[in-house]
């Protein structure tokens, strides 16, 4: 059976060149980067070289990059690290209603710890209301955290507009760029952010590694304590093989960005057009153009997402859904709710997230299979 992977927002296959770059660091170059001997220095060199590569991807300086265990830890370090270090100045944080749980649950944790959080709404396309954000700013606001691109519906947020405001008011601004890096240009100076999270496994790097960009001069503290690694902001012996792989992935992503994003945009638009043309009562979730080149979040009336996902899986097609039935809480996703979908509409939503190796032929097969699956499930539905 054909196997087609269209769930690249969940994770990506590690590039063979990345694996190749990592391998020596498991065996002959196994040193601890804190050791003064030859083995340690070899690892330390690889670490600093990797830092340069990751910094280069986002237009940062190497000393502004802190390696972490991934997007989740980067978000935690950014938000808690700023909050605790600056709580003398104020205890108010602003974020959006459509953030990833790594941000939302970190904010919820801080709320229990005496911080106040304002959740700014989005419009029906999933774009944040900047005026509303500006209104939410108070004298005691110390941090704004708004994601660059949404992981479910792919919507790209007006980060530069927000950073103008944050700069003017002297408030730290963090963005979760886990989904946007490698798909659209991400440059910390152009975006005007103070902190930015990246994850390796979303850009064909290994899992369990990521980085936080922290602009020079930012007042932040560690959230886990131990040795003096990573400018004393992230204790623990560095994951050198992972970091080397991540760095290789950022270099490849930078080289390939123009070609990949063009290819992805073409495939995405082809997929969306074919689905909307050939399947009745199908709709696109999220903004038609201000969206990641690889994200097509589509919804189909009268049927349920988990049933669609499993039917596609049986045809060798891997996608994802944020349907209520697929979550432990039996709640539809907070993102689909935030863009105003009724629960029954949120139910029938599927996320197709494309990768550089997907082809037009795969899109054709996916649309054909999807049409079949939708027909079969609608024949079974009492709501049609």
């Amino acid at each position: 059976m054909k196997r087609i992977y269209m769930d690249h927002s969940a994770t990506t296959p590690t590039d063979p060149l990345v694996v190749e770059a990592m391998l020596p660091y498991f065996t002959e170059k196994f040193g601890n980067a804190s050791s003064l001997h030859f083995f340690g220095q070899e690892a330390a060199e690889a670490l600093e070289q990797s830092r340069k590569q990751v910094a280069y991807l986002i237009g940062a300086r190497p000393e502004e990059i802190i390696f972490t265990s991934g997007g989740t830890e980067s978000d935690n370090l950014a938000i808690k690290g700023i909050a605790y270090q600056n709580s003398g100045k104020g205890k108010h944080i602003i974020t959006s209603v459509i953030e990833h749980p790594a941000v939302l649950n970190t904010c919820a944790h801080l709320e229990k710890d005496g911080f106040e959080v304002t959740y700014v709404p989005v419009d029906s396309d999933g774009i944040l209301d900047v005026a509303e954000l500006e209104n939410a700013i108070r004298d005691d606001t110390i941090l704004i955290t708004v994601m660059h691109a949404n992981n479910e519906i792919g919507t790209i947020q007006p980060i530069t507009e927000i950073s103008k405001i944050s700069k003017e008011k002297g408030i730290y601004f963090h963005t979760d760029a886990v989904q946007s890096v490698g798909k659209i240009p991400v440059d910390v100076n152009e975006l005007g952010v103070d902190l930015l999270s990246i994850s390796s496994h979303k850009i064909h790097g290994p899992k369990g590694v990521g980085a936080l960009y922290i602009k020079k001069g930012t007042l932040i503290q560690a959230i886990a304590h131990g040795g003096e690694h990573e400018a004393r902001l992230r204790a623990g012996t560095e994951n050198i093989p992972g970091i080397v792989g991540f760095a290789k992935a950022t270099t490849l992503a930078k080289e390939r960005l123009a070609v990949d994003s063009k290819h992805l945009t073409e495939l995405r638009d082809l997929l969306i057009k074919k689905v909307l043309d050939s399947i009745g009562h199908s709709y696109l979730n999220g903004h038609p153009t201000k969206r990641l080149p690889n994200n097509a979040n589509l919804r189909f009336s009268f049927i349920e997402g988990e049933a669609m996902l499993l039917s596609l899986d049986m045809k060798g097609i891997a996608v994802s859904t944020a349907s209520a039935c697929s979550s432990r809480s039996l709640e539809p996703s907070h993102v689909l709710k935030a863009i105003g979908l009724r629960p029954e509409d949120a139910h029938g939503s599927l996320r197709f997230s494309l990768g550089k190796d997907n082809t037009r032929e795969e899109v054709d097969y996916v649309v054909e299979s999807l049409a079949e699956v939708v027909r079969k499930l609608r024949d079974m539905s009492p709501l049609v």
Binding site: F302, L310, M314, S326, P382
Partner: protein, 129 residues
Amino acid sequence: MYSEKVMEHFSNPRNVGEIEDADGVGRVGSPSCGDTMDIYIKVKDGIIADVKFRTFGCAAAIASSSMMTEMAKGKTIEEVLEITRDDVADELGGLPEAKMHCSNLASDAIRAAIEDYLEKQSHKKDNSR
């Protein structure tokens, strides 16, 4: 996540559709996630002669509906009313905890159809007096 039996019933559901001149119809919806199930029954001499369903819901809900119709077909009304909420899940080789309400919905739906049938019967009797 699901047993083979669930996947088998989900991919080849039995008794899908509706019965035009059904003797009883049950529609139930669950407040938990919004799933909805319609069940149609045809009753002959106190026996479920035919049963059909339409379901809006997850794979577990569809498999449970299908399994329920198989379990009910050919049984007497009394026997079907004895089928408990757990029986459907057991027959399917078990369901994840979070999905138990989907199989509950199936047994609720057939009960609703039988109640509808019994009510119609009592009306018929009333009218014939």
